[in-house]
Symmetry: C2
C-alpha cells in the first residue's frame, strides 16, 4: 500500500497536476477548487501573433499575445466561444525606454521590451476547467507557476469579458 | 521600336519594378538609385514574433515585429550580418487606449492596437539592395507602397545601427 501511495505521488508530481486537479478530485461542484495551468505549454514561442499590448501604471508592461493553431483559427474565423484546445499566451516584458533608439531618432519616443516579467496562458478545456468558465489560467515567472492565492483574481476579472468568452485580447489584423 | 518600348513599360508596370530597378538599371554604381520593396511579401502575418515596440510622440504607434524563418533562425543564433533571404516585418497600429479594459481594470492603463497605420519590411538581398547596405526597405499603407521621396530617409537612419546590421529591433525572449 505504501508503495502504491509513493508511486501515485511520483506520478502526480511528474505530471504537475497537484494544483491542477480541480473538480475531478472528488469534491462536489459547490466546493470546486479552481484548476490552474501549472506547466508551460511547449512550443508557445513559435506560435503566431494575435496582438500586442501596453499596460501602463503599476504593470508598466509591453506584451505580445500569441496563439496556438486552434486559437489563431478561431480568432480569424470569429469563432466564439473558443473551442477546446485553444491556448493563448501573453508574453510580458518591462516597458523600457530605448536609449539607443532615442539617440538615433533624436528624441525620447521609443519603448522596447525590457526584461521578461511573466508569461501568462489561457487554456480552453471546458471539462477540466469547468469551474472557471472553461478556461485554465496560468502565470509563470522565471518558469515557475504562481500559487493559488495569486491566481484567484484571474477568473472573476476575466468573467467580466463574458461577451468575448472571457478573453480581453482582440485580433490585430 | 515604339511597340517594344510600350511592351517594356507594360511589363515594368505590371511587375512594379520601377522604383525597384536599382543599380541593375544600367547606371554606374556612383549614380545607383536605391531599390525599395514595392510588393508585400506573402504570408508575413503567419510569421513568428521577433519583438514588440511602442513609439510615443508623433508616431504614437504600437507594433509587432515578425520574421520569416530565415530571420528567426538568424536572430536566435545571433547571426550577423543577417543572411540573404531574411525578411523582417513591422506591423504598426495606432497606440490606442482601451476603454473596455480600463473600465474593467478600474483605471486608465490599457493600450491596444487601434487602426493599422502601416506595414514596413526589411528584405535582405546583398546584390539587389547593394546600394542600401544589402537591405531593401518597404513601407505600405492600405496595401500601397510609399514613393521614393518618402523612402529616402530609411537607409541613412538605419545605417546608424551598423553594429546590428542596420536593424533596430532585438529579439524578445
Amino acid at each position: 500500500m505504501k508503495r502504491i501511495t509513493f508511486l501515485l505521488v511520483v506520478v502526480a508530481t511528474l505530471a504537475g497536476v497537484f494544483a491542477d486537479m480541480g473538480p475531478a478530485s472528488g469534491q462536489s461542484d459547490k466546493q470546486a477548487v479552481p484548476a490552474f495551468v501549472t506547466t508551460i505549454p511547449p512550443g508557445y514561442r513559435d506560435w503566431r501573433l494575435i496582438s500586442v499590448a501596453h499596460e501602463a501604471g503599476n504593470l508598466n508592461s509591453l506584451g505580445a499575445v500569441l496563439g496556438n493553431d486552434v486559437a489563431i483559427k478561431a480568432y480569424r474565423e470569429g469563432t466564439l466561444p473558443f473551442p477546446d484546445g485553444t491556448i493563448i499566451a501573453a508574453l510580458h516584458y518591462r516597458h523600457a525606454p530605448s536609449e539607443e533608439n532615442d539617440r538615433i531618432f533624436g528624441r525620447p519616443q521609443s519603448f522596447v521590451p525590457g526584461p521578461a516579467t511573466n508569461i501568462q496562458f489561457m487554456v480552453k478545456d471546458s471539462t477540466k476547467y469547468a469551474a472557471t468558465g472553461g478556461w485554465g489560467f496560468g502565470h509563470f515567472q522565471y518558469g515557475k507557476p504562481a500559487d493559488a492565492t495569486f491566481m484567484k483574481p484571474c477568473f472573476p476579472c476575466h468573467a467580466q469579458e463574458k461577451a468575448h468568452d472571457l478573453v480581453f485580447t482582440r485580433y490585430a489584423p
